[in-house]
Symmetry: C2
Subunit: 146 residues, 2 copies
DNA sequence: CAACACACTTAGCCCAGGCTAATATTGCCT
DNA sequence: AGGCAATATTAGCCTGGGCTAAGTGTGTTG
């Protein structure tokens, strides 16, 4: 058991930031916009906290915000948002294949998605594709799970 | 995209608590004991922070601590420690199968391990066993990854 | 048995990311 | 236009989990 590696550069975005961006993009894609009240309701966080975070994301250049008016993602913000969304979707597809319960999948994915490196993502992506051709193998897995 | 589910009961242990317990058990298993200075060095955290956390874990009944003397895990603490260790090992085995780099595996596992429900654990366990019988499939996955 | 190094604890601080209560702005409806 | 409900912001607070600096124990060794 080697020691934890020295922590490198502060890593891209915190899990909170990723969760906000993911929600904001989701809201924009389904309603056309993302207001403070929508984000708060959707994330089950107080409006005050959302306002706070939005101002931070604006300061960090991930979105453009005009007080009382609304927000749009910047290119940087949209890139991050699409990125976390991909991780979420891919993990969900993978766990669905294993026959897990939807609530369990959601819970686990919402946590795991923040810790998947690009190469791990590619590996699971590839594995998912391969597994789709293996119904017998999947059946055996699902049997164990239930 | 449904809203985040209402947060249920505060869930067992925080990721920090799990990481401490995992390390403590690891140290006990390899050196026979876990002192503040060992935990701090191994986790790359200051001794002061370790003392602090250890006192919390004592208060929560996860270990018994005597100031300046040492600590032992309680049954509850040992159970949690073995549990997180199992998740760590299983995830590591799984990702190894996919041909990922050891550092990447360590990094990702260290984060993901805190977000794996029991049923997801069983599913990945079963999948890992099945995949071991599928060298051709694994070869195709590894090809994509590298 | 004294002194010193090392281990440990305490005190006081910081930041992320939540919260509530109070206040401000908007926009719609009469 | 004026008023009201909904929305948003600000102020002030809290907890978890880090940190450093300063002080306290302990055990080895001359
Ligand atoms: Mn998430
Ligand atoms: Mn997600
Ligand atoms: Mn961990
Ligand atoms: Mn671990």
């Amino acid at each position: 058991m080697p020691p934890v590696p020295a922590k490198s550069s502060p890593r891209s975005a915190s899990t909170a930031v990723e969760d906000y961006l993911e929600r904001i993009l989701g809201l924009i894609n389904t309603k056309g916009y993302a207001r403070v009240v929508d984000i708060a309701g959707s994330l089950r966080i107080s409006q005050a906290s959302v306002t706070n975070m939005i101002q931070r994301l604006d300061a960090e250049g991930l979105l453009k915000y005009e007080k009382y008016r609304g927000l749009v993602l910047t290119t940087a913000g949209e890139t991050l948002a699409k990125n976390i969304t991909r991780r979420h979707e891919l993990l969900t597809d993978f766990l669905k294949l294993l026959g897990l319960d939807a609530e369990v999948i959601y819970h686990d994915v919402e946590g795991m998605e923040h810790h998947i490196s690009p190469s791990t993502l590619r590996a699971i992506e590839s594995l998912t594709a391969q597994l789709q051709r293996q119904p017998a193998l999947l059946a055996r897995v699902r049997e164990q799970v239930t």
